[in-house]
Assembly symmetry: C2
Homo-oligomer: 246 residues x 2
């Protein structure tokens, strides 16, 4: 419930758009099916994601309205830990919204926020509308991009540009989840604090150890396990008495 209040507040601040509220509701449904807790498949993806960010030359955290509203402090903390840039990237881009989000992130400790106004002058191929605009110092040159709550088109476009894409998505069947290199099937409000923690732990490892984590990671297996988990929960529920006695 607190999560919804954060979003509605973000909405009133001009950070979140109505479409973002609908998208959030869609996520809530999958979270409910997952059991509203971080599962082993998500923990494995978080570990691989953090290893990829630590090994990256130019890691970038791409921030949209919902992400900014829900986990502003964790975005800043993770960026610090893995030495990543923060870039605003919006499906419904307006100058006011970009600035409101950047300001909100600065209020939570961000020193630099890319992708605002004139800074978003580069474009990424195959995408139309304002979503294609990126910062030449951020996503354009990034080798690893963390895209919490991203749409499928953009995830695919980033992949085609040769980038390693890390997604956080509660729906293991979404195009985003299926197109990303590493998919964290978990709620962003649970996953982001765990990523910060994991970054502090993995920073002490050698590059070789981090590379081994990445090599042994299998995203297809992680997605299958996520589905299987949902599937088993449904199976249990379907065999029980469903109607309530009143």
């Amino acid at each position: 419930m607190l999560i919804r209040e954060k979003l509605v507040e973000g909405f009133k601040r001009g950070i979140v758009v109505p479409e973002g509220l609908i998208a959030h509701g869609r996520g809530e449904c999958f979270d409910y099916l997952i059991g509203e807790s971080t599962q082993p498949f998500a923990l494995r993806a978080i570990e691989a994601a953090v290893a990829a960010l630590l090994l990256a030359k130019h890691p970038v955290i791409s921030v949209n309205g919902n992400t900014a509203a829900l986990v502003p402090r964790e975005v800043v903390e993770l960026a610090e830990e893995v030495n990543a840039k923060i870039e605003v990237n919006l499906f419904y881009r307006t100058r006011e919204r970009e600035e409101a989000i950047a300001e909100w992130l600065r209020m939570h400790g961000a020193r630099e926020v890319l992708g605002v106004g004139e800074d978003a002058l580069a474009t990424i191929p195959e995408l139309f509308s304002e979503r294609r605009r990126v910062s030449p110092r951020g996503i354009l040159v990034a080798d690893v991009v963390l895209v919490p709550l991203e749409d499928g088109d953009r995830t695919e476009a980033l992949r085609r540009m040769g980038k390693t894409v890390i997604a956080i998505d509660l729906n293991p069947l979404s195009r985003t989840a299926r197109a990303a290199n590493i998919t964290i099937v978990d709620n962003v409000v649970r996953a982001m604090p765990l990523m910060v923690e994991k970054a502090r732990e993995l920073k002490k490892k050698t590059r070789e150890e981090l590379a081994r984590i990445l090599e042994s990671y299998d995203n297809n297996r992680v997605l299958q396990e996520a589905l299987l988990h949902i599937y088993k929960r449904l199976q249990e529920l379907a065999s029980s008495k469903l109607t309530l006695d009143l």
Copy 2:
């Protein structure tokens, strides 16, 4: 996509609240799992629901913001066919919103809309906040209430008052779905036109025939079949290769 536009328009008209957009998103996700089409278990529930409405002494259609935004004409048509009253009932009740919804329903042909302003002077037990307010000519005296897109607390409270509750809910596991007497697990935009059609057909039947439809209806089985349907769809999906090649 058209559905979302209707909701966003309803939002701009003051009919839909931000929380309604989130709730809609949750429904969208379940609709995706169901396959975005009306399934046999929903058709059976629709038939029983229409029979119950036709047999009722005081049937009422309870309308909230999302319902008004999505199916205003169908609400009016169904009310005509089964001789039901239309009552506005909101989780987030304000006078402006009540009036905006009543006006919107009148624009779609409603002759009388209960539950607005002074009319909502009765209260139903066990519920707090503005949700408890109902019309003494409507929900208070109703024997059968259709609550498309209702929350669990209110559904349970209506049941405890001895009313027959018909819910339309895409989530077969929601408290609403489980507490209702008849649960139509389908999208309200598909279910409501089918209910209007079914009402025109069943009006020709005798009360005995309608009573037989009601008696043979089993809501627990309907909910189980809905879950089983989702479960089978997930099973098919889980066994395929999930990651996309890019």
